[in-house]
């Protein structure tokens, strides 16, 4: 969840994100920088892989016993299940199988679906990508735009309104907002479908299909955008406030530029740079928001798959979604770091 969002947003010093942790020493070569970043990401990926294994094996609670508690099972059946999932082998052998599996794209078999986990994930990944992608683009555009306006008019009614709105949105649990929207627009007004991605009977590929998916997309996208845009807003606001007293703005005004030009052509581009890392960082929060939003709207994506894995409990599936989600986020952060260096000449040759 967005635990650090508020502290980052409230502390203008940290507007430049994780720079205090990962600040590249000035003048470092691109090769060295690349090596350090990629190496760091690889270590993180390795930690995800390790966590994905040991969290499910070392921690107390035999997975088979857990399944047996939910439904009737004889000791023989439990033994059979243990053998089927390789739980009767020594831990080292299990770990080796797991490692080989990860590198060959084999994440085990789902207890509930009786299908390979990797196949399930591949199938459910696209709807999630569509949902989080749309929400991310909207949230970033809305948040950055409102954030720079709020900072420019600091102390104005607009600033106070947007800041307090984002505080409220920050305090709203994602799943509750989803339930509210579902209740109002799908339950009471019946303007929009209550869940799923496509209405039954609509042919795939037709224009009708696109419109139908778009209709199903509206409520989940609004929910995820509303929850995340506030964080972008606060980041952008803090970042632009940091630029407000810069000398180059005085120069621009002295040249006689219109105030809008000073803001959009001089201040905003500079304030935008430090937000890049944070924008990517919060995409992690967006993805976890997908778990509850997809659950409420029965959106057939990885989030709903995670929910089904929890309620199974379907441990191989949960392990698979955890590893895939986490790896995606780590890779996203690596990209952010690399893009940031390309965008900001000050980091490149300081």
């Amino acid at each position: 969840m967005s635990v650090n969002a508020e502290t980052e947003a409230a502390d203008p010093q940290s507007a430049d994100g994780r720079e205090d942790i990962d600040a590249p020493p000035p003048g470092q070569s691109f090769g060295g920088y690349l090596l350090r970043k990629v190496g760091g990401a690889l270590i993180s990926l390795l930690m995800v892989v390790l966590l994905g294994f040991f969290a499910f094996r070392i921690l107390p609670g035999d997975p088979v016993q857990k399944i047996a508690r939910e439904r009737q099972m004889s000791p023989e059946q439990m033994e059979l299940l243990r053998a089927e999932y390789g739980l009767d082998k020594p831990l080292v052998v299990q770990f080796w199988d797991y490692l080989v599996g990860i590198f060959t794209g084999n994440l085990g078999t789902s207890y509930v679906y009786r299908q390979p986990v990797s196949q399930l994930i591949a199938e459910y990944a696209w709807p999630t990508l569509l949902l989080t992608g749309t929400a991310a683009i909207l949230a970033i555009a809305l948040g950055l735009w409102m954030g720079q306006l709020a900072a420019w008019k600091r102390g104005s009614l607009f600033d106070k309104l947007t800041t307090s709105t984002s505080l409220v949105f920050w305090s709203v649990p994602t799943f509750w907002l989803a339930l509210l929207l579902l209740m109002i627009f799908a339950g009471r007004l019946q303007w929009l479908p209550t869940g799923g991605m496509v209405s039954p009977g609509v042919e795939s590929g037709s224009l009708e299909y696109v419109v139908d998916v778009a209709k199903h997309l509206i409520l989940p996208v609004i929910t995820m955008t509303a929850v995340v845009y506030a964080q972008y807003l606060m980041v952008m606001r803090a970042s632009l406030l940091g630029e407000m007293s810069a000398d180059y703005l005085t120069t621009a005004r002295a040249k006689g530029l219109r105030e809008d030009d000073v803001r959009l052509k001089h201040a905003v581009p500079n304030a935008l740079l430090p937000t890049v890392t944070l924008v990517f960082m919060h995409i992690g929060g967006l993805i976890t928001g997908a778990v509850t939003v997809e659950t409420v709207f029965s959106w057939p994506g990885l989030g709903k798959l995670t929910y089904e894995a929890i309620s199974g409990p379907d441990l191989p599936l949960l392990q698979g979604t955890f590893v895939v989600f986490s790896s995606a986020i780590i890779i996203m952060n690596l990209l952010a770091d690399l893009i940031y260096r390309q965008l900001d000449p000050r980091v490149r040759r300081a």
């Binding site: 502390d11 940290s14 993180s44 609670g61 649990p173």
Partner: protein, 331 residues
């Protein structure tokens, strides 16, 4: 408000409780006549600073409003057994009650699918939400402070390793790991606390590390090092007081997100099913499709309760932060 008032002195003068003995502090303010001891002087100064900070806090209207809401919720949670008898939550003892009764004079907030009064469930739910929120935050703060100070104080391989771990937890979305942890551990309130505590400390660690680094460069720490002070001495007597104000300000903000995390886990069905929690009520509401069946009261009030408490913690946290970090005040 009692909570925030006691945290005020330590927010402003973190060393207060560490360096001044209780005995000298009580005599402190009374030594107006005659030469005051250094300790008494220091105590007087701290008292004055605390009073000033308290005044600043009272001027923050949003913070005061948040504080009042928190007092009310804490009272309700503490006296839950007196306000609503436990039997009101027992499904078997409410068989004669109407199910899904909308709010009315008889059922102020409506009833659920078992005929239980929603207001009684909300009152008892306040307990779990507050306890989990506070306990998980305490855990997160302790881990975050230790890791942050270690990353800032130690250099070389050890410090680098800790930084790597902080970075990892910072990037990894905490809810995902919390879901995994609470799925594999035994169901229960303690599991939820651990799952949230273990996954939410990285933000604090980052702030603490930055503060530690800036404190490390001060001359008084260099002096202590030259005089032969060990790691433990520097951390305990110099670094800890320097980072505590920020940690305390961060605490109140973290409680809010911990409460949201608790309700999210409960909503996903990972909570303690034997306990009432606001997230559990919303899970039950979703399980009976309350949203599409028109049982609006089943969804509205538990969510409003969460928003009110989280917002209250955030407002108080911002007010305290503005005191602990005066550069923010102008913004």
């Amino acid at each position: 408000m009692a909570h925030s008032s006691t945290s005020q002195p330590s927010t402003s003068q973190p060393g207060a409780s560490k360096t001044s003995q209780p005995g000298t502090s009580r005599t402190g303010p009374a030594t107006a006549s005659g030469p005051a001891s250094p300790r008494a002087l220091a105590w007087n100064r701290r008292l004055a600073a605390a009073q000033k900070n308290w005044k600043v806090f009272l001027e923050d209207r949003a913070g005061v409003a948040g504080g009042i809401v928190l007092i009310l919720v804490v009272l309700v949670a503490a006296f839950a057994p007196l306000i609503a008898d436990r039997s009101m939550l027992d499904v078997t003892q409410n068989l004669d009650q109407p199910r899904y009764a909308p709010p009315s004079a008889e059922h102020p907030l409506g009833t659920d699918n078992y005929g239980r009064e929603l207001w009684a469930r909300l009152v008892w739910g306040a307990r779990v939400s507050l306890i989990v929120g506070l306990a998980a935050t305490a855990m997160s703060m302790v881990i975050g402070t230790i890791m942050g100070m270690a990353a800032g104080h130690f250099s070389g391989l050890f410090g680098g390793l800790i930084m790597r771990i902080i970075d990892f937890f910072l990037v990894l979305p905490s809810l995902l790991l919390a879901i995994v942890l609470s799925s594999v551990l035994e169901r229960g309130v303690l599991t939820i606390v651990i799952a949230i505590g273990i996954t939410s400390w990285a933000g604090t660690a980052r702030i603490v590390r930055a503060q530690t680094l800036s404190a490390e460069s001060r001359l008084y720490i260099e002096r202590a090092k030259v005089l032969g002070a060990g790691h433990w001495h520097i951390i305990r007597t110099h670094l800890l007081p320097a980072v505590m104000p920020l940690v305390l300000a961060n605490t109140t903000l973290t409680v809010g997100s911990a409460i949201i995390a608790e309700s999210t886990l409960a909503f996903l069905g990972l909570g303690d099913t034997t306990q009432q929690s606001w997230g559990t009520i919303l899970k039950n509401a979703m399980d009976v499709s309350a949203a599409t069946s028109g049982y609006w009261w089943y969804i509205l009030t538990p969510g409003l309760a969460i928003v009110a408490v989280v917002l209250a913690f955030t407002l108080v946290g911002r007010a305290i932060e503005a005191i602990a970090n005066p550069t923010l005040r102008s913004r």
